[in-house]
């Protein structure tokens, strides 16, 4: 091969890899977008984000949300009961927006987002001791590290693990 055609081929290869690499970065940045940033129903924000982060409805399948809404007086150790009209309103909104996150077909154990296979895989680099830090406290406390969790943004590039 001549020098010219060799360098052209090399440039073409570099171009291809560059484009591919660029695409990867774009896809990686889209992780936050894949949580399907459905605007949160104001009532959901008001009633369901007083004690914990407003979990995106897409992160659990319908069956999980239904079980949660039917058992509010026994909500993971506390009484989170609401009047019947509010339960109905929230349930139908959750139903309509459930399961849009990737690989969320199967209900996780105890309907806990943090026990989902995808969650465990995504956080497998986080050591056990981090979850126990007082500044974090629990894997369900998304906002400790995902500072934009309340806006439904979980982009790994924005993660700040507190001490």
């Amino acid at each position: 091969m001549s020098f010219r055609s060799y360098s052209r081929a090399l440039l073409a290869m570099m171009g291809l890899f560059g484009a591919f690499g660029g695409m990867q970065t774009a896809l990686a940045d889209d992780h936050g977008g894949r949580t399907s940033r459905v605007p949160l129903l104001p009532k959901y924000q008001e009633e369901c984000a007083a004690c914990h982060v407003a979990y995106p409805p897409g992160m659990l399948p319908q069956a999980s949300w239904q079980r949660i809404m039917n058992n509010l007086p026994r909500h993971y150790g506390t009484d989170a009961s609401l009047d019947a009209a509010t339960v109905r309103e929230l349930s139908s909104w959750l139903d309509a927006n459930a399961g849009t996150y990737k690989r969320v077909a199967e209900a996780p154990p105890q309907d806990r987002i943090t026990r989902s296979a995808w969650f465990i895989r995504k956080h497998d680099e986080v050591s056990e001791s981090v979850w126990k830090r007082p500044s974090v406290k629990s894997a369900s406390n998304c906002i400790a590290c995902h500072t934009q969790a309340n806006q439904g943004v979980f982009n790994e590039h924005d993660v700040r693990i507190p001490r």
Partner: protein, 139 residues
């Protein structure tokens, strides 16, 4: 004349009253902490005792949590949910003007949190004691 009243006036009156009651409902729920307190003391048929309220609030009642577990021993600063770590705005009205200004909201949280802390609904006297103590907390 009959036609006027039956077909026009009364339906219009009903519509106006219906609209008025729909818009007034949130206003009916709105209250001041002092109004809510007098409601509870009236129900309890006895005066509120702030020191008893402080005692109730900061003690455990045979279960894992006290009110203070989330709201703090002196709820004039942000508290923290004992399980989730979520920040909770101050409970004392002098430090948070939104507190105890909506009767439905107040009743909802008393119902749930007393169930968690005490295992039952709080009595009107207990609610009065707690609120009267919270109102003594000033900057």
């Amino acid at each position: 004349m009959k036609f006027f009243f039956l077909n026009l006036f009364f339906p219009a009156l009903l519509a106006v009253l219906g609209l008025a009651s729909a818009t007034l409902t949130p206003v009916v729920q709105a209250a001041t902490p002092a109004e809510l307190l007098s409601g509870y003391t009236a129900q309890a048929a006895s005066p509120a005792v702030p020191s008893r309220g402080q005692q109730f609030f900061t003690s455990r009642h045979g279960r894992e949590w006290s009110c203070s577990s989330c709201h703090g021993m002196v709820p004039t600063q942000a508290g923290k949910h004992a399980a989730t770590g979520k920040s909770i705005t101050p409970l004392a009205p002098a430090f948070n003007p939104e507190r105890f200004t909506n009767s439905a909201k107040t009743e909802k949280w008393f119902r749930r949190n007393c169930n968690d802390v005490v295992g039952r609904e709080c009595s009107a006297a207990e609610k009065a004691d707690i609120l009267s103590w919270l109102l003594t907390l000033k900057p």
